[in-house]
């Protein structure tokens, strides 16, 4: 028998008995950041490929959602801070060792960029739109002329943003569930998949839906592979990581994870999207909403479960 107790008594709020310092704001932010990264990535790539007229929803419409997603996401991060009035300290320094620091700077760059991108399509999407001032009209003209040059930094930054949502967690050695380098690519792919789902919801064009649907199926397959790889990696790891994996392989997170994330959030939408490609008529809203819900629940489970895992000594 081995028993450990604090003889001096210890019950610090949000720390004892289990760490619970990050609440719903962080997974919400990770979800919105990943979704925004996914949309901007597709918008950038299809612009660079010169397909913006064929991919109307991808390049022009879905990016309208991004500024809102990023601003709400940033607000979530702000809500999570305990020393709120000092948040500006984030922008007094760049600390490359700290994922949170360079993540904050990437957000500082990509948020205005996404606003400019969305603004440059307003006149085209809403014929009645009027910028009123000549300066704004000139600026719009400049943006439209330089779209491809803007698409490059946007695509690169969107990949960094997508990976960052995973690296934010994986940088913590002390939380064995998070401390795996698979988490960066996994969150990136999952974010792209949720971005594709938003595009599917907004697109009215059958051809475009077919292309994005195919990409989404591929992303889901990669995601399933990465999740398998993740669980295998824990099992081959140290005791701390084996204990972490046990939460998902028989422990209290097993049922929600395999039901809502793997089955309803990945396998079922992939099947439905494949059926649609084969000519069955499936309302696109069903697989798209399943992917979105799965992505959100996945982030909630990872943040919650990760805080339960620790080194034993």
């Amino acid at each position: 028998m081995k028993e450990e107790l604090f003889v001096s008594g210890r019950s610090i709020p949000n720390i004892d008995p289990n760490l619970n310092i990050w609440h719903w704001q962080i997974p919400m932010y990770l979800f919105l950041g990943g979704l925004a990264a996914g949309i901007l990535f597709f918008a950038g790539v299809f612009t660079i490929l010169g397909k913006e007229h064929k991919m109307r929803a991808t390049v022009k419409m879905a990016p309208l959602v991004v500024p809102a997603a990023l601003v709400v996401g940033l607000f979530m991060l702000f809500l999570d801070l305990k020393h709120k009035l000092f948040f500006w300290q984030l922008y007094t320094t760049i600390r490359l060792e700290s994922p949170m620091s360079w993540g904050a700077w990437v957000l500082m760059l990509i948020t205005p960029l996404s606003i400019l991108w969305a603004a440059s399509y307003l006149t085209e999407l809403f014929p009645g739109w009027d910028w009123r001032y000549k300066v704004l009209k000139d600026f719009e003209g400049w943006l439209i002329k330089n779209r491809v040059s803007l698409a490059w930094p946007m695509t690169i930054l969107s990949v960094i943003l997508g990976i960052y949502t995973g690296i934010l967690l994986s940088a913590f050695n002390a939380r064995p569930l998070w401390n795996t380098s698979i988490l960066g690519p996994l969150f990136l792919v999952s974010g792209m998949s949720t971005g594709a789902a938003v595009i599917l919801l907004m697109s009215k064009d059958h051809k475009e839906r077919k292309i994005i649907g195919r990409i989404d199926i591929l992303l889901i397959i990669i995601e399933l592979f990465l999740i398998t790889h993740l669980l295998m990696g824990y099992q081959a790891g140290s005791e701390a990581q084996i204990n972490a994996a046990a939460l998902f392989l028989g422990g209290s997170f097993t049922a929600p994870f395999f039901t809502f994330v793997v089955l309803l959030g990945l396998i079922l939408p992939a099947l439905l999207e494949t059926m649609e490609l084969r000519g069955w008529s499936v309302p696109v809203i069903i697989p798209a909403l399943l992917v979105l819900a799965g992505g959100l629940i996945f982030r909630f489970l990872m943040v919650e479960a990760g805080q339960l895992t620790r080194y034993l000594y």
Partner: protein, 177 residues
């Protein structure tokens, strides 16, 4: 100069005087603590062993909390002491997540707080509050680079361990066995 602590698990009686001294010295808010005493009981009667450990921030050489801090509020001061500059801390909680020892907490005023090795006392030539009140004198505080320090002698003559060294943090609190 490298400040460190050796704590004798065979002399500690678990009285928690170090905890109260710290709370008083550092005005730690009620319900929080910067150090605490852990009791590990192994075996079944009559073959039982007990280890008592007065735990606190390990002032790690490779401190994950300093690495992940986005503003540089968590930093390393003279002698390797890990401190938090309150007016630079945004309370994001990254350092709390990064600590394998649960040594940090969110102060009710918003910033993150932790053991300072009572650096304000050490600068005046005093021992940290926990070490100076210990009734069994089981806490040895000192400079690892000072060959005459009691700390260096006990670490030379006794077996010791540190907590979760596999986390790669290079902790600087040593438990004499």
């Amino acid at each position: 100069m490298r400040y460190a602590m050796a704590i004798d698990t065979r002399k500690c009686v678990g009285c928690s005087d170090c905890v109260v001294a710290c709370q008083t010295e550092n005005n730690v808010p009620v319900g929080f603590c910067r150090d605490w005493v852990t009791e590990v009981v192994e075996g079944t009667y009559p073959n039982v062993s007990i280890e008592l450990r007065s735990e606190r921030c390990n002032h790690c050489d490779n401190s994950p909390c300093v690495r992940c801090c986005p503003t540089g509020a968590s930093h390393i001061e003279e002698g390797g002491v890990v401190l938090v500059t309150h007016h630079k801390c945004i309370g994001c909680g990254a350092c709390i997540q990064s600590c394998p020892y649960k040594a940090r907490y969110s102060h009710p005023e918003g910033y993150v707080d932790k053991c300072t090795f009572c650096i304000h006392r050490v600068r005046e030539g005093l021992d940290p509050a926990c070490a100076s009140v210990c009734p069994t004198k089981c806490i040895y505080f000192g400079d690892l680079d000072d060959p005459n320090a009691k700390l260096v002698t006990v670490l030379k003559n006794r077996k010791f361990k540190s907590l979760a060294p596999e986390a790669g943090t290079k902790p600087q609190i040593f438990y004499l066995l």
